[in-house]
Amino acid sequence: MTELTKLTLAKARAGLANGNFTSTELTNAFLTAIEAGNGDLNAYVTVTGDAALARAKESDDRIAKGDDVRPLEGLPLGIKDLFSTEGVHTQACSHVLDGFKPRYESTVTANLRDAGAIMLGKLNMDEFAMGSSNETSYYGPVVNPWQRTNDNGDLSNDKLVPGGSSGGSSASVAADLCLAATASDTGGSIRQPAALTGTVGLKPTYGRCSRYGMVAFASSLDQAGPITKTVEDAGLMLAQMASHDLKDSTSVDVPVPDYTKVLGQGIKGLRIGVPKEYRIDGMADETEKLWQQGIDWLKDAGATIHEISLPHTKYALPAYYIVAPAEASSNLARYDGVRYGLRVPGEDLIETYEKSRAAGFGREVKKRVLVGTFVLSAGFYDAYYTKAQKVRTLIKQDFDKAWENVDLVLTPTTPSPAFAQGEKSGDPIAMYLEDIFTVTVNMAGLPGISVPGGLSAEGTPLGLQLIAKPFDEETLLRGGEVIEKAAGRFTPAARWWQS
């Protein structure tokens, strides 16, 4: 049954519709694959097999009767642990939410459920989505299914990171432990892990998907999106995940198009911007080469290429490391050891808060909460927080100006391919630089997609990023499809986690 797990979302959907297999068979194939592979990869933190099989049976009944078959009927997905799922483990992989099982469902997962999709379980992630390597999870690191190739051509046993924060999502999709996964992106947490695992990651426009029921990190930046095997699958997922939701005041009331309708349209006549400020020192040669390759592919498909300037690019990351921790320190104030989650009793209430939060938060989370508390504290607010929000305005204006002349912007997704566990954990700034090409998109609220573009000298995936105007995910998908067609799909050479 391993062949079933290798299907794309679109192919699995067609297979179910044609009666080639049942949702029960498909779901069982994934549960078997998870059972065999999760010990090595640590992509799932909880598996909901019985519930998944019950839902699969319901889907099979609907498909057999042929009535009321929904858009994602019977298709098994992985859900990032950051989405509230009723009665099921939801901790954003933090110890501070120990034992938390929400009594309600996030809008995104409710939308997917109502579309007939099946949840296989909850996926590992960096604690509260703070990290770029999935090494900050309370449940331990996720391992990238990809391995490096040594100089002598053998596969190395070094454990590579799957990117982060959506490392469970990227690894499970790359390793065929689900058809597609939900993820979330605050500074690059969908696109960077997608790039490091040879998968497609789509971060929609801020406001496209409801944030209701997502564990909050930085509310003005957080946005849900899919990690999938193909660009088409990303369109299929987004069409169901996106909605206007009265429960999220920043959710935007614009119609959700059928994103798959634009596929195959090509990009003839589109104007592609290439920002000169993204040619940074320390970018790997192979990244630079891939970027040029991407430019050529888009040109060959009939687009025109234009050098553009986004002058405030270099300030996006430092501004982000003020805005995001500030919002996080405020959002994470709710974890008090009283209403839910971990409680470590103290002599009085304040000591109970302090001990619960000290025991519940990991190192990276504590550090960011403290940075956020500092930049919001009396006497420093204007110098740090207001300044960063002003810089953010300038970053958005850079893009507004660019959109006068181009329809899409092409950049690499990350400066370099997947690194080994522990390689960057000692140097916080080096880790933060993972998001240097992705974070501008969050700061400006734009949609972005990472599509696999090729392999590094080490044989590991590299991603290309496209950025579009607000709510122009359709053009993003059209451009992504052109890259995908030219580059082909990439899957790990050895399926070592299956044995």
């Binding site: 009594r103 406001g207 104030a333 989650g341 958005k396």
Partner: protein, 95 residues
């Protein structure tokens, strides 16, 4: 900006996170490192620039001021680490 251990402790107190001596010492370096790194923003001229308040230009939505949810005491209390008679239980606050 370089922060000292006293500042780290003051911030940790504001954030209600207990820190050990060892943590305070290492956080001092890490926080200083991050704060110094973000100070490159000082190079940017932001005179007459409005701080961003929203990325998508929409008016904040309003709805009728009516109760739409509630009567869910059980749901609210379900995840409490300690509760009694539908109340959260905490250490004595008022002597």
């Amino acid at each position: 900006m370089e922060v000292d251990e006293t500042t780290v402790r003051r911030i940790a107190r504001l954030a209600r996170i207990e820190v050990t001596d060892e943590e305070a010492a290492s956080l001092k370096g890490e926080l200083s490192g991050i704060l110094q790194w973000v100070e490159q923003l000082e190079e940017v001229n932001t005179d007459n620039v409005e701080p961003m308040t929203r990325v998508v230009p929409i008016a904040l939505k309003q709805r009728d001021d009516v109760v739409t949810d509630g009567e869910k005491v059980e749901d609210v209390i379900a995840n409490a680490p300690m509760s009694e008679d539908n109340f959260y239980v905490v250490p004595t606050v008022i002597e």
